[in-house]
């Protein structure tokens, strides 16, 4: 296993990755930074790259960053495990859950 420098970090806030950016689609336009009403994000120091999630603990899950993204597919919501919803197939009775990662 490659050695990686280990830093002394505090525990991460929970949740800490409320969205997942897809850098192959996102062009770093920062529209999501602007529509977010609580400033969850800041622009990436490197132009053209997806924003940085700075205040994930303040997210209220309104979804505007994803809904209003001018390049759909750049961001996906990553709901905390404890929030994820359940449903059931009416025909088979099988209980299902959002297992997206």
């Amino acid at each position: 296993m490659a050695q990686k420098k280990v830093y002394a970090l505090p525990n991460l806030t929970t949740p800490n990755t409320n969205v997942i950016f897809h850098p192959e689609v996102c062009n770093g336009c920062n529209h999501c930074v602007e529509v977010c009403q609580v400033d969850v994000y800041i622009p990436n120091p490197e132009k053209g790259k997806p924003p940085v999630i700075l205040h994930p603990d303040e997210c209220w899950y309104c979804g505007c960053c994803v809904n209003d993204c001018p390049r759909p597919g750049s961001i996906s919501f990553n709901w905390p495990v404890q929030q994820r919803g359940y449903w059931k197939d009416k025909a088979t009775g099988k209980v299902l859950r959002d297992s997206q990662t």
Binding site: K4, K5, Y7, L9, L12, T13, T14, P15, N16, T17, N18, F21, E34, V35, C36, Q37, V38, D39, I42, P43, N44, P45, K49, P50, P51, V52, I53, L54, H55, D57, E58, C59, W60, Y61, C62, G63, C64, V66, N67, D68, S76, F77, W79, P80, Q82, Q83, R84, G85, Y86, W87, K88, D89, K90, A91, L96, R97, D98, S99, Q100
Partner: protein, 648 residues
Amino acid sequence: MTRWHDFLEKDGKAPSWPYPIHYDQEQEINTDVLIIGGGIAGCWAAISAARKGVRVALVEKGDVQRSGAGGPGCDHWCNVPANPLANVDPDEWAVAMSEHPYCNGIGNQIQCREDWDALVEMEQMGGKIRDTKDEYVGVEGRDEKTKIMISPRYTRNIGFGGDAAIRRHFKSNPEDKLNNMTIRIWGSTFKPILKKECKRLGVQIFDRVMVTNLLTEKGVQGGRVIGATGLNGRTGEFMIFKSKAAVVATAGDWSLFMLNTELAGYNTFRSRTMTGDGNAMAWRAGAALTLMERTGILGLGTGYKHTWYGGAGDASYENVPLVDANGKKLPWPTQGWADGGAMRPTQADMEKIINGVKTGEYALPFYGDFPAMSEKERRATWDLMLGEESTCKIITDTYEKAGFNPAKHLLQNYSFIEGNSPSQWRNAGGGGPVVDWDLKTTLDGLYVAGENMYAAGDHSYAAATGRYAGRKAADFSRQVGEVKPSKDQVSLEKARIYAPIKRTAGIDWKELHAGIARAMQYFCSEYKTEDLMKMGLDALKEIEEVHVPRLYALDPHKLMRSIEDLSLLTHGQIIINASLARRASSMMLNHFRVDYPKVDPPEWKKFVTVKLENGKVQAGELPLTYWGDMKASYEAHNKDYSGIYQGK
């Protein structure tokens, strides 16, 4: 690299603050009408004032594009009796709405008379209010001629409890036709349109700026409001707004009694930015506030939902039948045409359900039976009602991406299994400044709109009252001259705002917020007594004197959050003072005094008011219908109302 610690691991350091830092720098803005809060009410206030030809500044903590509870969207335009399909007279509907004790009859009358005009103006601006693409032909409630889609809500009665199913007779509807009082709308299109219109009209928009306090003539408490101070949450710049009139269009305060960011989505109907700033600044300026003792229970959201939209059936899942885990239909209303849009079972049905759960007759969990619906109605509910409502779009999209198909799948409901939040977790959005028929507060130059006027928080109410307050404030601004702010008031505020950045250690905003919340839980929640509440005031005083001077902030964002804490602290003090002043218990206000156990005694059926006078709390009262004859008063105050906007 999108996470903060990625940068640490890659570069060995945190990213730099991305915005310029302007601590201690001042920007002065001169305007006629200052709008505080850029949500639905604030945007409509800005637009209507600007259409009157005055200069308008709109100040918003987030970005007006999507900010506020109504920013993401809205599915219902409620209580719209002036719409062409309605069958009850607006004045009769307003009076009926106002039978509800401790409502705001002035706001109700304005909503009933003017929210259809607001909706038509929204359409003029480009908002979608009809099924113009014929996507929902054949859905019940859709009118072929106008393409307006009526919702089952309020079609038989007012309210959404169990009695919504009971037909109420209205004089103006002699044949008891459906009331047709709520319209299904495409509200996710609205907020960006409002911002665009503000810009087009030349409204000066200040995004990312928190208004921290009001400025009064000569800096005196109780004096005319002549502007406000603000803080930019990205740059730390200090703003001085000089205005002739101001409209407070902020919201309530849903986290005064609880801070827990780890319970993500514990209440995602409102964001943390709603911290009672409007009430706090109006109080400090000397305005009388009422119903501040009213608190609600903080909804505990689990599953993908915000407060109201549990699995299925809690609300806005119109026409969805609820079944138990074995597919047995529950006596739970479907919020549909059959039950007049009732969201909750009658008390008798609820008892049946609870007993059924306990005896095993009804197996948990419950489900929303979407597949049982007709294809058309299912699409109207899933795509339109849920797709357009507030924060629901991301929820339905998530379900679909994860494989949920409403034609095949039952959606889980969380009633009973998620539990209830403790009584100590409350929301504090129930009160606000006393208003008159101009939506003016007891202070000259200060107006209120939307939820902040001790009122319902619904979208059309916010729009109609915002639109009304904006034109009244514009009229007032033409009658008065500019006044220079007091230098002392400005410099005191500046010192208050910047104190946390002058320290490098102490406590951060989250610790302070949680400390304030704990004091509120202990001393002003389920069991209220005079002694407990006085302990509460002492506890908040101790926080103010000992812990506020320890607050420190590392950047402008955390500074803004810290100043929001100071709003929360003031809000808590107002609530405790108001709770002390109401020496009676009240079911409607969720206010129970151990030392005054009689519930809603007739002599206490009145508004209790509180205000600061020379720094001392003064309590007062107003009759429950202090607004007088609603129709006559409205007409007397709106002789010049020109209806739907005809200008460019």
